[in-house]
């Protein structure tokens, strides 16, 4: 066939320069078809080959039947961000196959069902048609399992074409299925059948290969939600109250799984309580009730849930009650796109609730920081006696990332300022909201403290330093001014920013959270393509540490890169920076629901700089 010959010709032209460990695979499937485990196995197999790899699940808000894409990026340079284009397509969804093929760059590759007859559609890409249905029927006699098994076939085909060892696929399947021998056998049978089919019937005629490296040894593969859940457990969480919402649900599921495994006494008693509440209002109410009573309490939610928590958070601010709220951000406004990512809840978290309220926010920029900053949030919330947010996002939370192994916490838990019955006996009395230490944080007692002077009245209405009801202007002002002092104390206690690069360049970049991955790659591109060296500061908390203002002051202009429309971090910075510094801020924004990619940042930077 002429078309095939032409395509082969093109590929052969480029295959002299093989593309090793530096490409992206797009697996297009139908959701609910069980492709998730096949994609995990393919990803884990590349990881097992020692090649840095990242996965992104671009899934619909739907149980079954809608198109879904899984992007696997192999990157010898260790860039885990989404690539704007994928070179290899595994086209398993007939509905989107045409458009998926059309999106490939020239020289791309397609692995597809033979019956789809896609070969006619492009002459500049390589097609590997495979009779998936026929092979599946042969290896899987049970008709109802075929849909699932078919997915493992493409893992085998791709492994063979890319040069991934079959043994590697086998050990990834072991990891995936654990002790479920029957599932392992069935799936490995399918992967092997795909592998063998490819070896015997397909002629490798594209440049993309995986070659063994040693870049992943000792590393772990985990998603951010599991890392947050793990952080909570190792921070000694005792009460979790939550309401299911995408994309935060797996945070609580991970925490619950670990609690059941690690936090049950030999007598079989739980040292924790997990409550699925009737809604997010109840979830945060339970967290504050538990935090008030002295428990390390948390909830996890996403945008709509956080909106519902607004009134209670205001109570937490004014009555000064600890509680950790993990918000795994999704695309807003309103219901928005629940299975797409964004960083658009920053401003609403910072000032959630009516009146003069504001909250400390921690911003993990990696799975390791999901683990670490969730722990930090518990210490901070009890130290400051105020609700603390951890803002993650769907990209960080629900996708698998390679990471250095986490570190076991060595710092003891900081349970904050709590007076015991013995303390009260010694002191004679206490006033709940008196600023005895000058940091704006009073001492509290817990209900159940057996001392006649222990009690105080917690209220969201106007109160004085002794927690008594007041409508007196001076008493109200004293409380509000102390709360402001407390927020200032938070600046020094919250995690400091990370100066990724600070070597006296004229141009600075600021980012936070999951934007870090794409920005690091973009900064390399900018240097390579335009010869521009720029500095980069990654923010990890609000209120802002003093280093952030200093960074802005030290640069001529500073690009704030973030994943929302309204430049929320830049806006928040503008409220905080000295007047003369505000004009230095520029914004690079990405908010279409897909994780930001390096190329988009580079392009927008070049445009603004006139390069």
């Amino acid at each position: 066939m002429a078309t095939v010959d032409l395509a082969l010709g093109q590929i052969q032209g480029s295959s002299s320069t093989r593309v090793i460990n530096d490409f992206s695979i797009n697996v297009a499937t139908v959701n609910g078809s069980g492709s998730q485990s096949a994609n995990s196995v393919l990803l884990k197999s590349i990881f097992g080959m020692g090649v840095p790899v990242g996965g992104k699940n671009l899934f619909p808000s739907n149980i079954a039947g809608q198109p879904t894409w899984f992007l696997i990026r192999a990157s010898k340079d260790g860039y885990p961000a989404r690539k704007s284009v994928s070179e290899i397509l595994i086209a398993m969804n007939p509905e989107t196959a045409q458009s998926d093929v059309a999106a490939l760059p020239p020289g791309g590759v397609v692995i597809c069902e033979e019956k789809l007859n896609l070969e006619e559609s492009r002459q500049d890409v390589t097609f590997y048609p495979v009779p998936f249905d026929k092979i599946t029927a042969a290896v899987c006699p049970e008709a109802k399992l075929r849909k699932l098994v078919k997915n493992m076939l493409y893992v085998g085909v791709a492994a063979q074409l890319l040069g991934i060892d079959l043994e590697q696929v086998e050990s990834s399947l072991r990891w995936q299925f654990g002790k479920k021998q029957k599932a392992f056998d069935l799936n490995f049978g399918a992967a092997k059948a795909g592998y063998e089919y490819a070896r015997e019937n397909l002629v490798k005629s594209d440049p993309f290969v995986i070659e063994r490296m040693n870049e992943t040894a000792g590393k772990i593969l985990i998603d951010g939600n599991e890392a947050c859940g793990m952080g909570a457990v190792f921070a000694g969480v005792t009460v979790i109250a939550w309401y299911p919402i995408t994309p935060s649900t797996s945070t609580i599921e991970a925490a619950t799984g670990l609690l059941k495994k690690l936090r049950v006494t030999p007598e079989g008693k739980a040292t924790f309580a997990v409550i699925q509440a009737e809604d997010e209002l109840a979830a945060i109410g339970m967290v504050l009730g538990a935090g008030w009573a002295g428990a390390r309490a948390m909830t996890a939610t996403s945008g709509p849930g956080m909106s519902l928590m607004a009134e209670f958070c205001g109570l937490g601010y004014f009555a000064e009650i600890p509680g950790v709220i993990i918000n795994v951000q999704r695309t807003g406004p309103s219901t928005g796109m629940p299975t797409r990512t964004q960083q658009s809840d920053l401003l609403s978290a910072a000032f959630l609730s009516h009146g003069d309220t504001k909250f400390p926010i921690l911003l993990p920029g990696s799975v390791k920081e999901c683990f670490e900053l969730t722990q930090a949030a518990f210490d901070l919330t009890e130290r400051l006696q105020t609700p603390v947010f951890v803002l993650s996002d769907l990209d960080l939370g629900m996708n698998n990332w390679i990471s250095e192994p986490f570190d076991y916490p060595t710092k003891p838990l900081d349970r904050g300022k709590v007076l015991t019955a013995e303390d009260l006996e010694r002191l004679g009395s206490f006033a709940r909201y008196r600023d005895v230490d000058g940091d704006g944080v009073g001492w509290r007692t817990l209900p159940g403290t057996m001392h006649p002077k222990a009690a105080y009245f917690t209220r969201g209405s106007g109160h004085n330093h002794a927690a008594a009801y007041t409508e007196k202007p001076d008493e109200y002002l004293a409380v509000m001014e102390r709360l402001e002092r407390k927020f200032e104390s938070a600046r020094g206690l919250a995690p400091a920013p990370v100066a990724v690069k600070n070597s006296g360049a004229k141009i600075g970049f600021i980012a936070y959270g999951s934007t870090d991955f794409a920005l690091r790659e973009s900064l390399d591109e900018i240097e390579k393509q335009y010869g521009v060296e720029a500095d980069y500061l990654r923010i990890r908390a609000f209120p802002f540490a003093k280093e952030i203002g200093e960074f802005v002051a030290a640069h001529e202009r500073v690009y704030v890169v973030e994943q929302n429309r309204d430049a929320q971090m830049a806006s928040l910075l503008k409220l905080d920076l000295a007047a003369g510094q505000v004009g230095k801020l520029r914004s690079i924004l990405h908010y279409n629901g897909l994780p930001v990619d390096a190329q988009s940042i580079t392009k927008e930077f070049a445009r603004q700089e006139g390069l």
Partner: protein, 345 residues
């Protein structure tokens, strides 16, 4: 049984009643809520509850202010409107040794807080939930609440045409295990009911009709002192013998429904309504619905079940409060951590 006149100076844990009092009430003189605060004070005193063990929880409204007027030695949490159940749940789970006492109103419970009320009842959380029910919103000057009876009239002449929510019938259906109604003006009944409530281990829901002297005590109101005095129909007479008192046995057992409470105290319900069986859910709900149709306000203990596991039982937690478990218990070991890391490689 002890009466107010024969009350000893100190209770069986050695505290005088003064130690159970709270701040001076800022509610209207004659408000039913003040009488309820006094009965709570008496009941806690007579039962010898350690005040420091009590957590007073409330929402927003006149009712929700009242925890300031009793048990000054107890911690108190006045939260947001309609959300007392959530904060109470959090506190009860964080420290299972607390005696959780929630005070809410008819607006706080039956309107803005209806969702949380329903789910709290389902969980049978160990707590006492008191609704100070006056049928109106007082702090916003007298609008109907969702417990206002059909045909009842506001001072302004406005008639309520919507059916009332019967919180007792709802609570019984949903899973509360001690449900009763009383009247702030009936000292004896309310005190006995509160004492029995303190001895119960699951959710106690007490709907206490508590007339609002400013906005709902006029002719045409069905939550007025006069209306209650004329239409109050007790289903039973409540006798309560706490575990630390001697149990007398001079009664006609055929007329008495007797309940052994989990702390060893004894609740005796003398039947006033013919054959009223407070262990029969369906009958309780039917009786309440029929009474509503007949314009009667039934009071008494409508339903009791001492067997049902509580929410805290179901959580299967350690006996110590979760809140104060030491780090050695709440932070898993380094070995456990390392094995988790190994699984992720």
């Amino acid at each position: 049984m002890a009466t107010a006149a024969s009350t000893p100076k100190v209770n069986h844990i050695g505290l005088p009643i003064l130690e159970y009092r709270g701040g001076k009430s800022t509610l209207c003189a004659g408000c039913g809520h003040n009488a309820i605060a006094e009965r709570i004070t008496d009941a806690m005193f007579e039962m010898g509850v350690e005040p420091e063990r009590v957590a007073k929880m409330s929402g927003i409204g006149c009712s929700s202010k009242s925890p300031a007027y009793f048990l000054g030695r107890s911690h108190s949490f006045n939260g947001v409107h309609g959300r007392m159940p959530a904060t109470a749940s959090g506190a009860a789970v964080a420290n299972r040794t607390l005696k959780v006492l929630g005070v809410s109103g008819d607006g706080d419970t039956a309107s803005i807080g209806a969702g949380q009320f329903i789910h709290l009842m389902r969980r049978n959380l160990p707590m006492i939930y008191i609704i100070e029910n006056n049928g109106v919103y007082g702090l916003t000057k007298g609008q109907f609440s969702a417990t206002a009876d059909m045909g009842s009239k506001l001072k302004t002449g406005v008639i309520n045409h919507l059916p009332p929510i019967d919180t007792c019938a709802l609570a019984i259906q949903l899973g509360a295990t001690f449900v009763g109604r009383s009247f702030s003006g009936d000292k004896k009944q309310l005190l006995s009911m509160l004492k029995a409530a303190i001895a119960h281990k699951g959710t106690v829901l007490l709907d206490v009709i508590s007339p609002c002297v400013t906005f709902n005590d006029h002719e045409g109101s069905t939550k007025s002192y006069k209306f209650m005095q004329e239409n109050d129909e007790p289903v039973n007479e409540i006798g309560f013998v706490p575990s630390f008192d001697d149990i007398e046995v001079d009664y006609d057992s055929g007329q008495i429904y007797e309940v052994e409470m989990h702390d060893g105290s004894n609740l005796r319900l003398r039947k006033l309504l013919e054959d009223y069986d407070p262990s029969d859910k369906a009958n309780a709900v039917r009786t309440l619905m029929e009474s509503q149709a007949n314009d009667e306000i039934l009071t008494g203990v409508f339903y009791i079940n001492t067997e049902q596991p509580t929410f805290v039982d179901l959580l299967n937690m350690v006996e110590e409060p979760l809140a104060t478990l030491p780090e050695s218990v709440t932070r898993p070991s380094k070995e456990a951590f390392e094995s988790l890391m190994a699984e992720l490689r």
